[in-house]
Amino acid sequence: MMHLLSGQLSREFLLVSRVRTDVLNPLIFLLLSVTLFALALEGRPEILRVHAPAVLWTLVLLTNMLALDGVFRRDFDDGVLEQLFLQADAPWIAILGKLIVHWLVTGFAMVVCIPLFGLALYLPAEVLPVLMLALLLGTPTITCLGAIGAALTVGLRRGGAILALLVLPLLIPVLIFGVSAVNRVMDGEPALAELYWLAALSLASITSAPFAVGSALRISLEQ
């Protein structure tokens, strides 16, 4: 089992290192949309600061939708997924490996970059740690639930729009708790309850999503 997981992890890392744009594109898109927002709000610090948590969380959700669309596509097209389901005793371990690496290069990468975007929107520096922590706890849920949608739509020619339609309603709790955590700290209150919620949602989705993704992929492979 661990052998399968480590094999999958090293394969995914190799793929990521070969196609670096997969990592960079979502981050550039995020930066671009932050710029759009800053310009649309005419660069006024007092407005940007108030809206920054909502803007950043919404953009993180949308950017993840774009990135998730491709999470299984290449493996689906070249037959790797089919071989996986033919050979592996527990395909969910390989799926877990894929999700871990995908989260590292999108969700975690966003956690690392978010202080820059936060500062760009004039968020006070003392809020940045809670923003990072909330993203760290929230993005695994985004990746896991998004992967279920991606697995259901991987066989479709234009799955991207549908993926967002399927998954975004399910991610509303993450948005609510994530934004609320940052706003709490901006108001000088503790945000522990929201952070605990984000963590609980992530734990629940990490433990259950690989199985749901597995059955969704199997359905997509049969069509």
Binding site: L152, I162, L165, S180, E222, Q223
Partner: protein, 249 residues
Amino acid sequence: MGPLKTLWHRLGSPRWFYGMLAPWQLGFGVAALTLLTIGTTWGLVFAPADYQQGESFRIIYVHVPTVILAQSAYMMLGVAGFVLLVWRMKMADVAMVAIVPFGIAITVLGLFTGAVWGRPTWGTWWEWTDARLVSTLILLFLYFGLYALRQAIPNAESAGRACAVLAIVGLINIPIIKYSVEWWTTLHQGSTFSVTRVSMPMQMWAPLLVNVVGMYCLFGWVITRRMRTEVLRRERDTAWVNDLFGKRL
């Protein structure tokens, strides 16, 4: 073989299913017409007006049944999805096909009547900080997702199973979504209707109960009707359907 097991095997036969549903459809239809006529007339004409909201509260007799049905219908989608995935029962897929458009319609109706009620009562059509409004809107999005997914997948069998997975994931998420939107402060009045706890006077509460049961019967009628149509559509090339209608459909 026990009677349950016999029923189970019979459910695999579209022909038997089609015939079996005919009396149910009739029964639901008659019951829905009777109950909704009684409940609506009673509620709109004979029930006393509310001492605070006046006549405008009467939309409760339309609004509450639709919203209850919007939630129940999604729950049934989740159950049907579970049955389809675990036992591969094709009739569960037929049920899902039948329920989704009804769910969309009834949720839109629930949101609309809620807005119409909200305007005179709270002075607003829509309130983003109200948990129940927002979670009903999200429910509508979940229905849209199921509808879109089925339309997008060309293979009918895969579409059914993909929708089943999505319906189950959605059903698990609904309580979390509801809780998270309740996180906001709410200006909504507390839940007005529950079977166990009567918070309204009997003369106002009884017609509401009649209409809620009537709405379930309407749901039963629409769903059995749509399921039978769907069975015919799927079986249109078989001998029994052609025999049933004399010639080709």
